[in-house]
């Protein structure tokens, strides 16, 4: 028996719920309500983006700045909805074989690329070919033996071994397998010609300056939905053009929004938020859970190799102060490695979080045999939240008698240092996990598993119990079992102080008041956004 998944009006929820067990064939039903229609068409929107974009090759770039633009141009077979659950996008339906070693995707009909060519399974296969060759996260296809195109509307993936989480991995938006015309499959890395199937097509791209997109008139929305959801759903381009202008200076973004030169911006600095709220021409849109602020110990090097010492540090930390400094008071406290609004969120290990008990810390410190040696906190200034969090962590550690020092380098250097096996140069490494937690527990916990577990175990050999939980997260057949394994892994990691997640950061976006239906998400989405005349 084959188990099939489709997307109808109720299908997204069912789809996600059934991903683990794929219980039955779901019929593709008609949409229950009228699909979204643009209340007003036309207008040009200019969006101030904080980070530079070097390339729009979505297969070879994991940067947020590339994704912001490219995911308005490209689409994939499967993607994520508003709650980051997998949904079909260019696929109309997909089914898993009884032996779980094949996935058959039926493609939506009438889809064409921005160059006018109709999309067929040959294009999908060519896209997978390119991704397998140069895609940044081509490890997604490690368990894939190959793919076939039995007819122009069907694409089949054959697995070399069963991977219950395959659809979850395939629908990742971190570096998605976007579908491109077959004739572009040999484009060099970072040089992919920007032709997709999305509601907007690229008109002009000047690296370092701007990217201008225009409505793709032949776009066919996904009729299985009524509204846009996440990266997919029923999408329509109401605007004539959208221009992403690179404005790296926060004050310049705010000024641009005030004058109306920019109709939307990301990352409003905290000191400007209040003024923006009072401005009747501006709508402020906080985007909670943008990333998890985190520090990781080097467990290959004394004294952070000592569990008691790591627990002493854990007991000393007060998360409100750390997050306040890191985010300018734009944060949410939460335990662990998922955001509280996610289905896989668990507070397992909560007793280790936000203890802020100096006496207990000092007691644990004495038990650890700490002799006052310098403790190096590795951080950077490229990401201000990481530097500020490290600064407060240093003070809190000093308050309990730990001789904590900051080592400030730039981000590439700190990553390089943190990845060295058996390094003696640092004890704590500051980072931020954004995209992976949003993708789910599986994407996040790979940071804490071999190879390259971020707590840097001696000789790169992670804790066997943590690894066992990680293995269960990947191989258990049902979602419930995998979630239980995640809870076990989180609890182990927190109890053994292999990571110190401080809380999650809120990113503040804003648009002009006449910009309608702009909903903050992990990318600025311009489908179904319209300008009030």
């Amino acid at each position: 028996m084959k188990r099939a998944l489709t997307t109808g009006c109720a299908a997204p929820a069912l789809l996600a719920a059934s991903l683990s067990i794929l219980p039955a064939i779901l019929p593709a039903g008609p949409a229950a309500a009228a699909p979204f229609a643009c209340p007003s068409r036309g207008g040009n929107l200019v969006f101030g983006q904080e980070a530079n974009v070097n390339s729009l090759d979505q297969m070879t770039s994991s940067t947020i700045s590339t994704r912001n633009i490219a995911m308005n141009i490209y689409e994939s077979l499967v993607t994520r909805d508003e709650n980051n659950k997998p949904i079909a996008e260019l696929a109309e339906s997909f089914e898993e074989s009884a032996d779980r070693l094949a996935y058959t995707f039926r493609l939506r009909q009438g889809i064409s690329f921005h160059n006018g060519k109709p999309m067929t399974s040959a294009d999908v296969a060519a896209s997978f070919d390119r991704y397998k060759r140069i895609g940044l996260q081509r490890s997604t296809l490690d368990n894939v033996a190959g793919w076939e195109t039995p007819d122009p509307a069907t694409f089949v993936i054959r697995m070399s071994k069963v991977q219950p989480t395959f659809i979850e991995a395939l629908s990742s938006f971190s570096v998605p397998i976007v579908i491109i015309p077959a004739e572009h499959k040999d484009d060099a890395p970072q040089q992919l010609r920007p032709v997709g199937t999305g509601p907007f097509r690229l008109v002009e791209f000047v690296p370092g300056s701007h990217a201008r997109l225009a409505r793709f008139d032949n776009y066919r929305p996904n009729a299985a939905f009524e509204e846009a959801t996440g990266f997919g759903g029923y999408k329509q381009a109401c605007l004539d053009t959208v221009t992403f202008r690179i404005v790296t200076e926060a004050s310049a973004r705010v000024a641009g929004l005030e004058t109306g030169e920019l109709q939307g911006v990301e990352d409003i600095p905290t000191q400007s938020v209040e003024a923006m709220r009072k401005n009747p021409n501006v709508t402020v849109l906080p985007l909670k859970n943008w990333w998890i602020q985190i520090a990781l110990p080097n467990t290959a090097h004394a004294p952070t190799s000592n569990l008691r010492f790591r627990q002493a540090v854990q007991a000393a930390l007060g998360m409100e102060d750390i997050m306040d400094a890191a985010t300018d008071n734009n944060y949410t406290l939460n335990v662990g490695f998922q955001y509280p609004n996610q289905p896989s969120y668990t507070d397992a290990g909560k007793e280790t979080y936000n203890i802020n008990d100096p006496e207990r810390a000092q007691k644990l410190l004495r038990e650890s045999g700490y002799k006052g040696e310098p403790i190096v906190i590795l951080t950077n200034r490229d990401y201000a939240p990481m530097y500020n969090a490290a600064l407060v962590m240093q003070q809190q550690m000093q308050a309990v008698g730990i001789k904590a020092e900051l080592k400030v380098v730039d981000w590439p250097t700190s990553v390089q240092m943190s990845q060295k096996v058996n390094s003696t140069e640092w004890h704590f490494f500051h980072s931020g996990w954004g995209t992976q937690p949003a993708l789910g527990a599986l994407a996040t916990m790979q940071f804490l598993a071999a190879p390259g577990a971020n707590y840097r175990p001696r000789d790169d050999k992670p804790d066997p119990e943590v690894e066992a939980a990680w293995s269960d997260m990947n191989t258990k057949p049902t979602e419930a079992e995998r979630n239980a394994a995640f809870a076990r892994m989180q609890k182990l990691v927190l109890e053994r102080a292999y990571a110190y997640p401080f809380g999650s950061l809120t990113k503040v976006q804003a648009v002009r008041a006449n910009v309608q239906n702009f909903r903050p998400f992990r990318i600025p989405r311009f489908s179904n956004v319209w300008i009030k005349p």
């Binding site: 070097n54 970072q190 690296p207 370092g208 701007h210 000024a255 990401y383 981000w411 990553v415 990845q419």
Partner: protein
């Protein structure tokens, strides 16, 4: 003269080779992993290692150096790691933007700096002199970033006269270019104008005390002729030297201004390349910018002979 120019160009070759070697070595000496920078914030170690292998960054230092000089001899400066395009193409996309902005700022610098310096010298120890030098001090003291922000608030947010940022190419819309480049050019020019005003003033004061100026005045020449034909012409040699330095400073100062006003110039490109350890782009881009500056300085040297016949290049 042509022979002199060719000899100067020839002598620039070792300079460029040395610059390229220093840049190559420095980029490898500083810690930091280009693969980590490309992979972004949320990359796993496995992905970073994969990128490193893809880019050939695991090759020995000497092999990388040989590849670099081998390519250089064939006019190939490599491909930008971040952008996937040829370094020459990427640099020549951005260099004209910065050169245009710097040229605009240079014109403002010369007008403001020379005028303020000459007026201050001619009205030494008067209120005009004090005002001009106060203006020069403000230009030198106020960081161009801060000045730029103040101008955005005044001319864009309050008055709505000029755009807050962005760039319009001159070839597309000359008036649009002027509007988008005016505030950046002023913020770049103010520091240099302040320096030039002070140097022009002191040079002019020295020249104005020379005997031949006194003689020219005694002969009854009009003041304008004394100042512009005799005094300024002789003061131009040190001023020209300073202008050569100012051109270099304008190019390097453009980094901050470009970031503030969202201008896609070479300053921002190279800064980003350094921060992301884009080795080929830093090496090639800096080499091209250095070559340009060497040419500017050769041009300034040639100008000496034109301005002062006493200077001989035999």
């Amino acid at each position: 003269m042509i022979g002199v120019a060719l000899r100067r160009v020839g002598s620039a070759v070792p300079v460029l080779l040395l610059v390229s070697l220093i840049t190559f070595g420095m980029m490898r000496l500083i810690p930091g992993d280009p693969a980590a920078a490309i992979a972004g914030l949320s990359a796993t170690q496995r992905e970073i290692e994969q990128i490193r292998a893809d880019l050939g960054l695991d090759e020995p230092f000497l092999m990388q150096l040989l590849h670099w000089y081998g390519g250089l001899l064939q006019g190939d400066l490599g491909r930008s790691i971040l952008m996937g395009k040829g370094v020459v193409a990427v640099t020549f996309e951005r260099l004209p933007v910065t050169l245009g902005l710097s040229a605009y700022a240079l014109v403002l610098t010369l007008i403001i700096g020379l005028l303020a310096g000459i007026v201050a010298a001619l009205r030494q120890n008067t209120a005009v002199d004090q005002l001009a030098m106060m203006f020069a001090m403000i230009g030198i003291s106020v960081p161009n970033f801060f000045l730029g922000l103040l101008m955005i608030i005044l001319f864009s947010v309050r008055l709505g006269w000029l755009p807050t940022g962005g760039y319009i190419p001159f070839t597309e819309d000359p008036l649009g270019w002027l509007r988008s480049s005016t505030m950046p050019a002023i913020s770049l020019a103010m520091l240099q104008a302040g320096l030039l005003a002070r140097i022009t003033r002191s040079t002019m004061l020295e020249v104005m005390r020379q005997d031949y100026i006194r003689t020219a005045r005694a002969k009854g020449l009009p003041a304008r002729q004394v100042v512009f034909k005799h005094a300024l012409a002789n003061a131009l040699i040190p001023i020209t030297t300073v202008v050569g330095i100012i051109i270099s400073l304008l190019l390097s100062g453009a980094v901050v201004t470009e970031a503030l006003f969202s201008i896609p110039g070479i300053g921002g490109l190279l800064t980003q390349a350094v921060l992301n350890r884009d080795y080929p782009l830093v090496q090639g881009g800096l080499l091209l910018v250095t070559a340009f500056l060497v040419l500017v300085n050769i041009g300034i040297d040639m100008l000496y002979a034109f301005l002062d016949p006493r200077v001989r290049y035999e």
